[in-house]
């Protein structure tokens, strides 16, 4: 499979985050600075990963972008709009670690849910869900129930659902975190293919260094207490192929990310200790 990253045009600002801070339990004894002075710009069509140990605020940052949680200071612009307006105008799609498919709906109807809420009519919804099922290679499973599918297949449905209204931005919170390693690598290739076909801007939260490096144009390294961005590492792997993961270039990028993580690691054990990843 050939991945031509250079074909994705890096023009315009998809996401502009400037001086964002967020504090949980403000004023209490258990006050936690989840985000401290976070600055991040993401170009249209760019794939960035947020990586860091638990508590570094990467999921919080994703939720701030999606207006699933508020923030205390700074500015966030999603396609030039406030997160709230962007959410209300359905300018992003989101996928979580749990596929969170609705048991009582068929696979197709799950994908059609955001379309129903956006007021699409029935025939347009059906056309769109068939199109998306085709994209995630689950055309034969439209009438199945979610619980009849494997974990990887469920996650593909969740990705299809996040793309339903064709939003320019895709937010992904460890979507492959619950999958086994083989499925995970296959899903990574799937995601890169979909990214190439759709040209979406993607913000991807992960615990895994190789995953971040393999998928991203840029890896944003975060550190806890307080949650902040400590490094940004550009990845220039070109087309992802079967040997990409074994190339020196890949290894160098993984090392660079690991060292950036270690530099700010206060616990002394490194990010990999959390999940047993490389």
């Amino acid at each position: 499979m050939t991945m031509i990253h250079d074909k994705v045009q890096n023009t315009g600002s998809a996401l502009a985050i400037s001086g964002v801070s967020k504090v949980f339990n403000k004023g209490n004894d258990n006050e936690v600075v989840a985000l401290s002075d976070v600055n991040l710009d993401v170009h249209t069509g760019e794939f960035i990963s947020l990586i860091g140990p638990s508590g570094c605020g990467k999921s919080t940052l994703l939720r701030v972008i999606g207006d699933l949680t508020g923030f205390d200071s700074g500015t966030v612009q999603v396609s030039g709009k406030t997160p709230e307006d962007a959410r209300k105008e359905r300018l992003y799609g989101i996928a979580f670690q749990q596929a969170a498919l609705f048991d009582w709906r068929s696979v197709s109807k799950n994908i059609e849910l955001p379309l129903e809420l956006a007021g699409w009519d029935k025939s347009a919804r059906e056309t769109r869900s068939a199109e998306l099922l085709d994209m995630v290679q689950l055309s034969d499973f439209g009438t199945h129930r979610p619980w009849e599918l494997s974990g990887g297949m469920q996650q593909r449905v969740a990705i299809a659902r996040s793309l339903a209204v064709d939003p320019p931005l895709l937010l992904m919170d460890e979507p492959f975190g619950a999958l086994d390693e083989m499925t995970r690598e296959r899903m990574q290739n799937e995601l890169l293919r979909i990214r190439l076909e759709t040209g979406k801007t993607i913000v991807f939260v992960t615990h895994s260094i190789p995953e971040a490096v393999y998928l991203s144009d840029r890896v944003v390294v975060m550190s806890p207490r307080p949650g902040r961005i400590t490094a940004e590492i550009s990845v220039n792997l070109g087309d992802r192929t079967e040997i990409t993961r074994e190339s020196d270039n890949f290894f160098h990028s993984v090392t660079a990310v690991r060292e950036a993580l270690r530099l700010h690691d206060t616990s002394g054990s490194g990010v990999s200790s959390h999940r047993g990843e490389i």
């Binding site: 939720r63 959410r87 609705f102 009582w104 849910l113 129903e116 129930r145 619980w147």
Partner: protein, 289 residues
């Protein structure tokens, strides 16, 4: 599909168990009578107190009272149908009220805090004490030409018992969606009403079905008890009391009324089982809750 066949054979099997259970009770009944002739039991096992099963069935076609055209069976059937209608009415009212309460309590924390203790307290009032009170108050109510009748009181009491399990079950069900599902709906800019219809209600079904079962049983019990304690005529509750007074002349008669009450329970249970199968057909067969 095999899952459909599994379900049917499972249904047949559970029906067999029901019949086996009934047969077992009948056998134990007769064995107790035999035992009573051999040793001294602490209770009366004479034909007067415990008629034979076949005597009970033989009482079905007897005239209800001497010279009447109606048989005991017909009278019991009519009374059972009447009670069923009252129970059904109470059930529908109870379910509606229970659902509305659950929706309000889910939507506004204020109401959950404020209402839930009263909802729970409502069930600690003894029904026997409440029934005459409701009848008494009810009899003073009239909406223009429509006069409150005691049957409404019976329905009210059935509803009073039925709303509680439903509102508690429904509240739990409406609160069942995971934070992730709710965030997903938020990301779709779904309104509260859309979240209710597209997520909370469907997600509550696995909780709603057992609550419906309990509510249905409660509405039947409520109807029968209310009929007895208010003395309202026409239902199986009152009929049982009346027939119980005739045990000296026709000891088997009261058991026909008992069969009517059992049939009432079975009809309701079967109806709920059908609703269960219909409502949960789109859910995994196990792994609920």
């Amino acid at each position: 599909m095999s899952s459909t066949r599994d379900r049917i054979s499972k249904g047949t099997l559970s029906l067999l168990w029901v019949f086996a259970g009934i047969a077992l009770i009948a056998i134990m009944w007769e064995l107790t009578k035999v035992l009573g002739t051999l040793i001294d039991l602490p209770f009366n096992t004479s034909d007067q107190a415990m008629p034979h099963i076949w005597t009970m069935f033989a009482a079905f076609p007897l005239p209800e009272v001497r010279g009447s055209d109606t048989t005991v069976f017909e009278a019991v059937l009519a009374a059972t149908t009447s009670s069923l209608m009252l129970a059904l009415g109470g059930f529908v009212i109870g379910v509606t009220v229970g659902l509305l309460l659950a929706v309000v309590m889910q939507r506004f924390l204020f109401f959950e805090r404020g209402l839930l203790p009263f909802v729970i307290a409502s069930q600690t009032v003894p029904l026997i004490a409440l029934a005459p009170l409701i009848v008494g108050i009810g009899n003073q109510i009239s909406f223009g030409p429509i006069q409150w009748s005691t049957t409404y009181s019976v329905m009210f009491i059935a509803a009073y018992l039925a709303f509680f399990p439903l509102s508690i079950g429904a509240l739990r069900g409406l609160q069942a969606p995971t934070p992730t599902s709710l965030e997903l709906m938020r990301s779709y800019a779904a309104t509260n009403n859309k979240v209710l219809w597209k997520l909370r209600f469907p997600a509550s079904i696995p909780y709603l079905v057992p609550a419906l079962k309990v509510s249905a049983a409660a509405s039947v019990v409520g109807t029968v008890v209310a009929e007895i304690s208010t003395g309202v005529r026409g239902g199986i509750g009152r009929l049982m009391v009346e027939y119980a007074r005739e045990t000296t002349s026709q000891p088997a008669k009261v058991y026909v009324a008992v069969f009517g009450a059992i049939a009432l329970g079975l009809v309701v249970a079967a109806a709920i089982a059908a609703v269960d199968a219909l409502m949960t057909r789109n859910f995994p067969k196990k792994g609920i809750v």
